[in-house]
Amino acid sequence: MRAGAVAVTLPTMSAVIETRRLTKTYGTVKALDGLSLTIPKGGVYGVLGPNGAGKSTLFRILLGLIRPTDGDATVMGGTIGDPKAMRRMGSMIETPRYPPFMTARQVLTWLSLAHGLSSDTNRTDRWLERVGLTQAADRRVRGFSVGMLQRLGVAAALITEPELIILDEPTSGMDPPGIQEMRALIRSLAHDDGLTVVLASHQLLEVQRVCDRVAIMNKGTLVREGTVSELTTTSERLRLSVSPLERAAEVLGDKGAVDGKALLANVPRAEGPALIRALVEQGIDIDEARWVGTDLESVFFTETGAVQTPEHDHVG
């Protein structure tokens, strides 16, 4: 879906989150600029964007932590802050912190009580096991690493057994094995437990691996939305090694861009053969033709205009 378009959901999908022209300004800065977004029920939904794109602001509004300047949103069928709707969702915003004198088990018991549940140790133990913190259950959180705090944050988001969880940077600060475990947990929650998981992440590869649908935000607006395969397929470009290059570029016009000694043609896959025929008919030699740019990273950098460096495996 392109920027400015009204969010459309397939009729069979029911939305867990819907925002309508959501706007949030801080002084003269617009953190969200008329964002309309529909997040369907089920699966893992990723929200991508560079710093200042408005991801965290969106999450904070959805959780009732801040109020929008304009527009509105519904979460689990209720308005923002509706206690009934809030009881059906859990969240982890950035790296969570806890009272340092409490153990992991006590933190979950405390949150259970705060959410109107009993201090059932079976429930707390079950979620501690699910996030791999059983061994650390009785350790005080003041000694926890960032990764352990992230895991506890996910357990805390799940302690009320919600239908929707919102996770802001769930793998931040984790080591590679931890990231892999978290990825498996997130997919399991969505596909085995039937939860809807909405996450924001800077790790583009991570999002591509774990998410079913993705929204790309930039400067407080939605620039692209769709399934990962939709986004990556529609962003494919045909890379052509041709000579003479200048003549081929003229033929392609605004559909082509010079990339070193090759041309990148921005055309749908179905039009590829016709384009190649047209070039040959113009007397242009084609040494190689292949489809490139199929990863989410390429889509992200194209859509947000962020600067890509060779070392760039994630965005800031």
Binding site: L65, R87, L111, A114
Partner: protein
């Protein structure tokens, strides 16, 4: 629900041993130690003190080995359960409860599922519970101190407490509780306005010291006597002491001017309710994503 907020806050407080030590146990232990040391000192200087013609009545009773009535001592102690030492250290616990969620950045974890008013009132209820605990431990400590003193001086122990004494005991204890709660209300407002535990701790302390000294040192030269509207409104601690004097009866009650009780109650109510209302109003508008 309010009950959820109370249960969660109380559970968390029970796990903070540092808070319990400083706000509930430290002042009573210190007072007990000082009381015992004082008794030993007096006993060691008994001969010299007995010869002093200006000796105080209670000291005279102690040295004359008059039996100690623990029931009456408890009534007397109930009036001093909100002494400055208890109030100051109780403030550590109150500030931790009021500002803890800002300090640990945990508001975002608990604020989505309950109303903000419930959450703040939950904290208030837990602070009242903590103050009751601090008062109970202080009362036990004072009683133990009295018994140690009786043992040092060889005084017998008696216990008399009629219905009137029971009523007086609970009225004085209730007023002491009200003083502690009123004092912590300023801490609640400071915690919400500044999101700082240290400010929640020190603002009430500084204000309390000012409220004690200004009506005695600053206002009289301006023609404002301690029983004037301004003086009483400025000093809720003094206002509660006036009400306590009325409850004690006798000569102390007779010394309280007739116009003071109404002014005192207004001062107490204003200093208790206004900070609480201000804190709730401010908290309900607060951006809790910035902790």
């Amino acid at each position: 629900m309010w009950a959820d907020a109370i249960r969660a806050e109380a559970f968390r407080l029970t796990k903070s041993r540092t808070t319990w030590f400083w706000s509930v146990f430290f002042a009573p232990i210190l007072m007990l130690a000082l009381s015992a040391i004082t008794s030993f000192f007096i006993k060691a200087n008994e001969a010299k003190l007995t010869e002093d013609p200006k000796i105080q009545a209670d000291l005279s009773e102690m040295l004359a080995t008059v039996p100690l009535d623990l029931g009456q001592a408890m009534v007397t102690n109930a009036a001093s359960l909100s002494n400055p030492l208890v109030v100051a250290f109780m403030l550590i616990g109150a500030a931790t409860v009021y500002a803890g969620d800002y300090r640990w950045e945990t508001w975002r974890l608990i604020s989505a599922r309950n109303t903000r008013t419930n959450q703040l009132l939950g904290k208030l209820a837990v602070v009242i519970g903590l103050a009751l605990m601090a008062m109970l431990v202080m009362l036990i400590s004072s009683t133990i101190g009295d018994m140690i003193q009786a043992g040092i001086f060889g005084r017998g122990l008696t216990f008399t407490m009629d219905a009137g004494d029971v009523g007086q005991f609970f009225a004085l204890a209730g007023l002491s509780l009200l003083r502690i709660v009123q004092f912590t209300m300023v801490g609640l407002l400071a915690a919400v306005m500044t999101r700082s535990l240290l400010v929640a701790l020190f603002v009430p302390l500084v204000l309390g010291i000012a409220q004690f000294f200004v009506p005695m040192q600053v206002l009289p030269p301006m023609g404002l006597m301690p029983d004037s509207w301004v003086s009483i409104l400025f000093n809720p601690g003094g206002a509660i002491d006036s009400i306590k004097d009325l409850v004690k009866g006798g000569e102390v009650a007779a010394a309280v001017p007739d116009h003071v009780p109404v002014r005192a109650w207004i001062s107490i109510i204003l200093w208790t309710l206004l900070p609480a209302i201000g804190a709730i109003a401010s908290f309900n508008r607060q951006d809790l994503s910035k902790e």
